[in-house]
Symmetry: C2
């Protein structure tokens, strides 16, 4: 789903990932984290796509909201498991969204 109801400035976390071949439990945990993230204060939405490369962009009201989610215990455990087992490589970028433009072909 495209997130199209926000008003800059706000924050985006761009999480780009390559997975290993051992994905036992990955999908269940990813889904659980998506549900849990959506319950956090300051969460605004998420967009996600994957071919070989996966890109998940989550949107947040503030840097403080991103830090609080980073420090969430269940999220920390999932991230540790991710680094140990599921992720071959990732890059995580914290960005301030300054402007945006939308288009819809109705």
């Amino acid at each position: 789903m495209i997130v199209d109801n926000l008003k800059a400035p706000y924050y985006a976390v761009i999480f780009s990932t390559l997975l290993t071949d051992n994905l036992d439990g990955y999908e269940a945990t990813a889904n659980r984290m998506e549900v849990l993230a959506a319950q956090q204060p300051g969460y605004l939405g998420v967009e996600s796509a994957r071919n070989q490369l996966g890109i998940t962009v989550s949107y947040w009201e503030s840097l403080a909201a991103i830090v609080a989610w980073k420090n969430n215990v269940a999220h920390t455990e999932a991230r540790d498991k991710g680094r140990a087992v599921w992720y071959k490589k990732y890059q995580l970028r914290i960005c301030k969204v300054e402007r945006e433009y939308g288009f819809e072909n109705l």
Copy 2:
């Protein structure tokens, strides 16, 4: 490919898209734009993934570089064609990358 050789601050353009069913010429144009973008001053890299939703994130040295690429004639023509034919909906966000973290399981 994950872009992992950059040093914040720099800029990211997050382009989230839903396509129509008429994709005649889309892939050729998308590939041409990717090659052309990479030749622009201030271009730093691109990451791309698609399921139903597509997410392409391009990275740039400055807002000026993003504006110059926006105003590129071939890019403008491709964007007009995209709005007329290929895109059902899109959202384009211009962001300042403030921090980043990488991980690689070697």
